[in-house]
């Protein structure tokens, strides 16, 4: 919108660009933004979901995504030239999913440990699930 009104921004300029979108549930999508609407709902084309665990990542091709605007945390343009030069190592989908699962399990165990410790000290703490990260 910078032409229409300086000092403003709009997703219109991001159309047909390769974007990286982070969703509220923690997922990372990379795709070409094909269309938007006034609620910032996105239509992503040739989308891949990229899962990061540590220094490794894995891509799951997903096709066309339509994302409801309220679920987007942030998005940014991908530098197509440099995206090959990531310091991260790509692994296969299965591997990364395994890694993710392991990480999840580890996290849960940690949480459980903390909860128990708190409980021993007499504190009961229930955390409302918010946006996952």
């Amino acid at each position: 919108m910078s032409g229409y009104l300086p000092g403003t921004a709009s997703l219109v300029e991001e159309i047909d660009k390769k974007l990286l979108v982070v969703l509220r549930d923690g997922r990372t999508l990379i795709g070409y933004l094909r269309s938007i609407d006034q609620f910032a709902n996105l239509v992503l084309h040739r989308t891949i979901e990229r899962i990061h665990v540590g220094k490794k990542y894995g891509d799951i091709p997903r096709g066309i995504f339509i994302v409801r605007g309220e679920n987007v945390v942030l998005l940014g343009e991908v530098d197509t030239e440099n995206e090959k030069n990531l310091p991260l190592e790509e692994v296969s989908i299965d591997v990364i999913l395994d890694m993710q699962r392991e990480m999840q399990i580890a996290k849960e165990q940690e949480e459980e440990r903390k909860r128990k410790a708190l409980q021993e000290r007499g504190m009961h703490f229930t955390e409302q699930p918010e946006d996952f990260m």
Binding site: S35, D37, H45, R46, G63, I64, T80
Partner: protein, 863 residues
Amino acid sequence: MENAIHVMSSSGMPALGLGAGIPGSHDNELIEAPEEEEEFDVLNDETFGNCEGDWDEEEHKRFAELEGESFFDLQPPDHTKDSGYGNAERSYRSQEEFLEQSISRLMEEEEDDKAKFFGKGQPIPFSGRQQQDLLQVSPKSRNIWGTPSHDSQFRKPADALRKLFDTAKAGQRGAPSPAPQVYHPPMPTQSPVGLPQAHTLEEIERQMMSRSRTPQVITAEELERQMRGEDSPRGEYSRTPQVVNHHPQIGPPPQLPPGLLPASALTGEMPRSPFPPGMPPMPLPHHMAMHPPMTPPPGKPPTGMSPINQHPMANGRSSPINIKGLPPGQNLSSPMGRSSSTPTPPLVRGMPPHFQSPHPARLVSPYSIGNSPMAVNLASRMMTPPPNMPPHGHIPHGPIPHMPPMPNSPMGTPPHTRIPPPSNMQDMSPHSRSQQQHHHVVDRRQEIYSQHGNGEASDKHRAYRTNYQRPPPWQKNQPQRRQHQHPQQGEEVEDEYAGLMTQREKDWIIKIQLLQLNTDNPYLDDYYYTYYTLRKKQEESGHTDSMARFLIPNFAKIESRAYTPAQFEGSLGRLTTASVHNPRHIIDVSGGSSPSEDSSKKNVSKELRKFRQLLMDIEKGYILLLDVDDIEKKVFAVPEDSRLSLFLERHEKICMLYQYFTSDESIEQYMQILSVRKGRKLLARVLPLFTKNQAHVALCILFHHMQALVRKDAAEGGLVSLTRPVCRAMEGSDLESLVRLVNILEGEKPPQTGSYLQTLLKNQFSAAVLCGLLNQAEQVFKDTSPVDMDNQLQTEWSQFVEEFAEGLEKMALKDLPVATFLLPLTEAHLSRHLNAQLVGKVEEKVHRLTTPLQTTASSNAAS
């Protein structure tokens, strides 16, 4: 009331008459068509036995619609009353009827019967004239028919169709076609040929596939060859229909049924179309069939594409993407168009887009979408899948069962992905779909006319053409997409998807966003940004310009707060009239009283409260002042005539301000107000706004309090901010006012002190005020001739001057405050009134009082 009744009756009549509930103004024939169809059914049963018992009525109807009304309606259809929907339906039906007629025509033995059914006594309109009508009608009636060039060509599709039907009939069992896939039998039930029941294309394909493999293979190859632009099987194809004509079984040239397919596939729509490939594309495709296989003319697909792109025009609120039915029409057009254009440019002159029949789109083979290169191409061109396409199967592959399978990327084949967003056709019911198709087909066609082959389309076409052989490239090319040569095609693929969102859609979004930024008062809503831009502009345009101002736009969205929703008289109860902008008043949440702050230290809090109250009062004064300011800014935004109201408003506000300072209550508060810096500032800003009289009164009040003020101000010296405005206010006063002011000053003096002047002179403000008085007096004396001046006043004034000088004399120089601005005339005034001796004594002091240090120029000469 009467009118309403009348209206109802008039509209009811046709409905009653029709019995078919068709809205809008339709021709009699069309209106009666359904009824006729029912009759047809009956006849069919009688004539042909029960095998056709399970005709799908709906499909027939659709078929009839496809016929187009051209045959029956020799006048341009009346568009004035319907939304185009009806027209589409009409043309649809007429096309079907046309188709029916043509087919029936071919069967000589039934011709008479047919005529009875079809034309209501009209001969089956298959003449050049009729074709002309077609031509005529099509632009307006959105008839997507192309011009049939020859009867013979027309026959071919029919023959082919019949062939297909035979095939289908042989193999099939009644499969009610689910909504979308209407494989329309070429004719209505009456057709003498054992028209197979309507089946989905899938079934037919399946049957054909099961029957023999070889022909299909050939087909695919043929298609491929044709895709590459060879002329190969065209001749074959052209021949085959005729061959088929006389061989009502499936057998005949094995090519035929499959042969049909390729031809139709080539032409784009044929096999796809639900109704016999020939049908709508009938004239054209056939024509195509005659000619060498077309490599899709470059222009066509793009045009096919572009309308869809353009189509999503949003009206105000709806999303531009939400366009139904568009694609199907689109679908139809492109392949058709393509095929038509190559062979018969003259025919398709204005028609290429016409050539889209809504139906073909419907007929999309669920599978084999990605398979044939042809299919791919066509499919991708076809923008959106005809409604009810199976998830991917938009592309009207038609009966191309064995195309070389396209590698399927996880992301789907390119054709799939190519389908542009507005592909919500899939969810529509058959009927609505067809109707919508028509509707949108019309729109599309219009679009095609207007936007013939824009750049996007050509890009797409390019990709279209080149992609059919390759696997979905985008995935592989992903990393290097933008940089390599190899993604020549990758780039094309990507470019092909670029521009899915048209400029119109983008503008629409931006419009919404800009709308949210609209403001009535930029100074209020976004103060800093407003000033920032103003300053920037000022810097750009040079510093000579005076500070530009954002005008407060006078968009009086006067929605009065006191809106009472409309009340209906004589209604039972209170009707709800809440709207988005005026919701129901459920809870009254008026500003409640602030909670009392009770604290143990009541005194402190009380004082605090008082102080706060004082501040609040001063704020009120400020609000008035700011309103005046705003009005001044608004004035420029408003044309001359309506400025008066603004001026009046301003005047009113100023009067209120005057009241603020001069009413009895406020006089009591006066000291307090002026003890606060903000209060002083307020007075300083307000004084210039007053009229002379108002200013005078204000000054009187001020002078009343002068002593007290001075005493209080001894420490701070904050009164200086008032100096300038007070002196300015005094300018223009006449002698009488001055005398009065002086009297006030005198009157207020506490009796014990010797001279009131002592204290006054000590304070900078008051000293300046006194000198200002003298200054003004000098001005008065200069301007008025002695004759006009009141003697008494003069005497009084002279007295004052003397007192002033004496008082000044008594004071030491060092005690006198330094002046802050120049009062040039004071000294001269003194000379006027005083004797030289006295003047000499005080001149230095006067000078000090009246001449700020900065100015080196001294106006006085030693007297």
